[in-house]
Each structure stands twice: as C-alpha cells, then as structure tokens.
C-alpha cells in the first residue's frame, strides 16, 4: 500500500490552481496563434492579438489570465493501492484551492448556497471527482472554469433514432445559442452516451484533452473535425464579432449507454480554458 499524506495533496492542488490560472496551456496558445494567421477579418485578428498579448502578460506578471478564475473542478485519478493518510482528502483538496486562490490574488467566485448566494470568501468548495482504478498512481487535474462559458453548456436526452444527425444538430445548435457569451473561440467538449450525469461528466472531461489531439478512434476523430468545420462556418468569430474562428477544437468522449438512450452533453470552454495537472 502506497501512502500519500494529505499535506502533499494540499500542496499539489495549490500549485495546480496557481499555474492553471496564470499560464495558458501551450496547445491553446498555439491554436490562437494559428487562428490569428488564418483570419481575414481585421477585427478578428485584432481580438486574437489582444488575447495572445494578454496570455503573455499574465504569465510574466503572474496575474490571472481572466478575472473569472472560476469554480474549480478537481479530477483525481487514483490507484486502489493508494492509502491517503493525515486527514480528510476532501478537506485537503479544498485547503489547496483556498491557499492557491489567496496566494495567487485570484477572485473568489463561489457562493455557499445557490439560493442564498453568500460568497464563501475563499473559492471553496471545489467540485471533486474521484476515479478509482487498479494501481498506485495519484494524478490531480484542475479545471478552474469561468461562468461565461459554463452558463452556456447544455444537455439533451435524444432518442436513439435521432442518431448521429441528431447529435450533430444539437452540438451546432448549442454553439449557435451561446453566441458571444461563452467567449469564443471556444473549445467544445461533447459527452455522448452513459446516462444523464455521465454525459455531462464526459463533456467536461473532453475539455481536458489538448486541442491539437484528436480522438484515438478514427470515426470520432473525423466527427470532431467535421463538427469543428460546421461550427466555424457559422461565422461568429472571436468574441462573437464575426470571423472564421468560432472554435479551436471539438473534443468528443463516449461511454456505453442504454438501448433506449442517447444522452448528449455539450460543455463549452472559453478561449482561456485553463487546466493543469500533476502526479504524486
């Protein structure tokens, strides 16, 4: 049994949130750069240039890329051979978030109750997902996601007869309805299959994959590229002010489902989809 102390988990989560909020992932930066070189519209180019400059400034000044430093989703993939010692693992994760948001001078954007709406003051609690697998690994991934994009995500339970076409229509429609609000160019996470909560979880998980990496299954890789083309044909462009780049990537994740079900969830990531991982 491998032992991991709660203090190690706190320190790792703190580091992850500090890094994620300040350093735009290199794959996204490169995709924005390619979009800048490809765009014809001068307004689109100007907006992309500002976003690239902003990413550089954030890293140099150690300031948050975007003031909406989000509600933090923390995914923990852990081996069943790991024994967590020294306290409560959930508290350890939240303590890491608390310290990172304090030390990074990040905005505290969490209200303790969805109806009473009083700010919790330290950006906790995080949303924590555990995935238990054989082995003794311990990987932490954080996704501090802002609400501009989060609010525009959608989920639908299609009929199996609606099939591939129904799925495509839904994904494009979600992006169309989001318009400028989700801060395009977007990263479009699509979860297909499972049940209701699984589809939503998959859509989120899809956002963690780099934008330059297509699905390992050839048919889904083609589907991702086709959907990206369809979305970019819409013409929303950066910030919804027109242009060819409405999305940087479409990432799909799937799971087996019920004979009567075809759940599809779409989670939209903004142009500053922030993620960071570490291994203990």
């Amino acid at each position: 049994m491998r032992e991991i102390h709660c203090d190690q988990i706190t320190a790792a989560v703190r580091e992850c949130v500090l890094k994620a909020n300040v350093e735009l992932p290199p794959d996204i930066r490169e995709a924005l750069n390619q979009a800048y070189n490809r765009e014809d519209s001068s307004r689109a180019r100007q907006i992309l240039k500002i976003l690239l400059t902003n990413a550089e400034m954030a890293e140099e000044k150690k300031m948050a890329i975007c003031q909406d430093t989000g509600l933090v989703a923390v995914n923990i993939d852990m081996g069943q051979e790991v024994h967590v010692v020294g306290g409560d693992i959930n508290q350890a994760v939240n303590e890491g978030v608390r310290q990172g948001y304090r030390d990074g001078y990040f905005r505290k954007s969490v209200v303790s109750d969805p109806l009473q709406r009083i700010n919790s003051g330290d950006n906790t609690p995080a949303i924590i997902h555990y995935q238990l697998l054989p082995g003794d690994h311990f990987n932490i991934t954080v996704l501090p996601k802002g609400a501009g994009s989060e609010n525009m995500g959608q989920l639908t339970m299609l009929k199996p007869a609606q099939g591939l076409d129904g799925m495509r229509d839904f994904v494009v429609r979600v992006v169309k309805e989001a318009g400028a609000n989700a801060c395009p160019p977007l990263i479009v996470g699509v979860g297909i299959g499972g049940n209701m909560e699984m589809a939503a979880y998959l859509a989120k998980k899809a956002l963690l994959r780099p934008v330059d990496e297509r699905h390992h299954r050839a048919d889904l890789a083609v589907l991702e590229s086709e959907l990206l083309e369809a979305i970019n044909r819409l013409g929303f462009g950066p910030q919804g002010m027109g242009g060819q780049t409405s999305a940087l990537a479409v990432n799909i994740e799937t799971y087996p489902t019920h004979i009567a079900c075809l759940p599809v969830a779409v989670s939209l990531g903004c142009h500053a989809t922030r993620r960071s991982s570490c291994t203990l």
């Binding site: 307004r43 003031q67 001078y105 905005r107 501009g148 400028a180």
Partner: protein, 197 residues
C-alpha cells in the same frame, strides 16, 4: 481610433456608431450582478443610489484582488446579458454608457435609444491587458459583496468597440443574422439529404 472622455456628454454618445474603436479616459463605475440588484432595490424603496448615474459609464466587471504593487487584479468584462433586467431603470436615470461582453435584450436596446446611451464591448478574457489600463480603483459602496462591490475606476486608453449605438445598430445582431442565414441554409440542405421520418 476615437478617444472618449468619461463621464460622457450627450454629443459624445450621439457621435458614436456601431463598430467604432475607441479608447476611454476618465472615470467609470464597476458593478455586476449583486451591486445591480442592490441599486435596483434602492430605486424601488425610493432611496438614493450610491452614485449619480447621469452621464456615467458602468463597467460590468468583478476584478481579481490587487496583487502587491498593483491598483487592481485582472479586470475583464463579464457577460452583460445578466444585467439586462436591471439596466432600463438605470438608463432612465441618466446612465449613458455600459461596458461588457455579449448581446443585450431588446428592452435594453430600446431604452438605450430612448434615453441616449451606448453599449461598448471590451475583449472578454483579456483580464491583465485591461487591468493595465486602470490607474486607480476605489470602493464606493457594498464592500461586503467582495468581488461584486461597487467601485470607481480611473481608466487611461481603455480599449472598447461600440457594440450597440444609441441608434439601435447592433454588432452582435449583424453577426447573428449572418450566422442564422448560414445555419438555416445548411439545415435545409441536410433535411433534403435525409430520409423522411
């Protein structure tokens, strides 16, 4: 690139047209969801607002805390649509400008035309780039709201695009009309290709 002094005169508002790129110098107010809710409650109760909105610009922003040596943390615009329900009452009381991101409701656009106001878009997600154009920040009201407190900001060369002008011309609507025509054209083609259900 036009330069604009804030607060705004009636003439300045009238001179702005959709798509104009501008740089703002002067004083603006920062307020988002919770501060708007408080202001509207004050109006309903017949109380004074924490500032006189006549001629002023409200920037929809909830900034990050200021790191040491800075006047403010990252400070890009939030989605303006969430403020739509509160906005006409402020426009009626003389508010002349708003800075945010994303489209506004028809009710807001109509109130802007009626009372003479302009809606400006700043680049969403450019939090550090925009914070660098803010030279001072002071809490005016509702400090207990934390990141949603009402602030007075002094800005220099703060970059915006006129998204909706006082004549009702709307950049988002123009783009959306083009998007819709593309979308429905493709949908029609797809329907023709598919077997009847």
């Amino acid at each position: 690139m036009k330069r604009l002094r804030a607060p705004l005169t009636e003439n300045a508002v009238q001179s702005l047209r959709v798509g104009d790129e501008i740089l703002i110098d002067g004083y603006i107010y920062a307020a988002r969801d919770a501060a708007h809710k408080r202001m509207i409650e004050a109006i309903v109760l017949g109380q004074d607002l924490p500032f006189d909105p006549r001629g002023q610009i409200i920037y929809y922003v909830g900034p990050c805390p200021a790191p040491p040596g800075k006047v403010i943390g990252s400070a890009g615009p939030t989605t303006s649509g969430r403020m739509d329900a509160y906005t006409p009452a402020l426009l009626e009381r003389g508010l002349r400008g708003m800075i945010g991101k994303g489209d506004r409701s028809q009710a807001v656009v109509e109130a802007m035309q009626r009372f003479g106001a302009v809606y400006l878009a700043a680049v969403g997600g450019a939090g550090v780039y925009l914070a660098e154009r803010i030279v001072s920040a002071q809490t005016v009201a509702y400090p207990e709201l934390g990141p949603e407190a009402l602030l007075r900001l002094e800005v220099r060369s703060f970059p915006c695009i006129v998204a909706i002008d006082s004549y009702g011309d709307n950049i988002y609507q123009e783009v959306r009309n083009r998007v819709n025509s593309q979308y429905y054209k493709e949908e029609e083609n797809d329907q023709n290709k598919r077997p009847a259900q």
